[in-house]
Amino acid sequence: MAAETRYILICSGKGGVGKTTLTANLGIALAKQGVRTAVLDADFGLRNLDLLLGLENRIVYTAQEVLAQTCRLEQALVKHKQQPNLALLPAGNPRMLEWLTPDDMKTIAAMLGDLFDVVLIDCPAGIEDGFKNAVAAAREAIVITTPEVSAVRDADRVIGLLNTEGISPIQLVLNRVRPKMMANQEMLAVSDVTDILALPLLGLVVEDEQVIVSTNRGEPLTLNGANSPAAQAYTNVARRLRGDDVPIVDPSQERQGLRAKISRLMNTKIF
């Protein structure tokens, strides 16, 4: 075992903002960059990470069987065929009789530490027991949100809880950015969200239809070197996570042409 394993929680508070999509894409991107990565689906009530990774038919065991010692950890890990550096471990299945506890999650995390450099923990929505379980296994966190009032509010709540738990660092990924709406000030600006949440920005993902296509197929965008904006954004998040200095470009400021220039002029503060 080389450097210490990093345990990174991916959470949002609100559902449907892109937690699982980020986990899947980040997992693949890190694996491609040579990082031995485990993705732990802590959302066992409504698990979906298997589906986004195209591994839904290959799950036999879960962390629960590992804990009960009915199987070995290696048997429960589902290795990705094209990216063998990546493995999925579902925490449990929706039909299980006994819920996992925070201590169970810590045990599992420690076991994964022997085999992987990075463990990404896909957190369930909400701030109840499932969230507490997921946090127990984590040391650092990525909070993902969209530039919408409800998502930002829930993210703020989650950040408060992560602070109380001593999780650090906590970084922000802003998802589903619509550059045109942002330029027209009909969507919260990137700086609005980072100011309000007071977190460093780890990545910015523009709204991209290819995300839906990729989930349909069960092949994350980062898998096949797709050149779509979101694919690049996820790859950059992976690189920044590893310490590379990749500048973040605000797409609402980047547009060229007369309309964009007028729009920028309109946004200058006069008072």
Partner: protein, 99 residues
């Protein structure tokens, strides 16, 4: 409170301001409440009592005054902006405080 050229033009034309600034203001307010765990009713009561105490010493412009929660860098502060009309010559007696 900042104003952009777009906001100014919208205002001149009697149009609603761009929704992003409305979103930001609403968020800041709701987060100040979320973070401090003060419900609006409690805040209202606190506001009344603060005004009451300050009014014993100075005459306030109650139409302009405001006591609210503001939040910056995840720190919530109680901000009171209380324009003073004039000082009171005679300080009103404090309510009996068990002395």
């Amino acid at each position: 409170m900042s104003l952009t050229l777009r906001d100014a033009i919208n205002r001149l034309l009697g149009r609603q301001p761009a929704s992003a600034s409305t979103a930001k203001q609403r968020l800041q307010l709701v987060l100040a409440h979320d973070r401090s765990d003060l419900n609006p009713e409690l805040l209202q009561q606190m506001r009344r009592e603060i005004l009451e105490v300050v009014s014993r010493y100075v005459e306030l412009d109650l139409d302009e005054g405001d006591v609210s929660l503001a939040t910056e860098d995840r720190v919530t502060a109680l901000v009171a902006n209380l324009p003073i009309k004039r000082a009171r010559d005679v300080v009103l007696p404090a309510p009996a405080a068990g002395a």
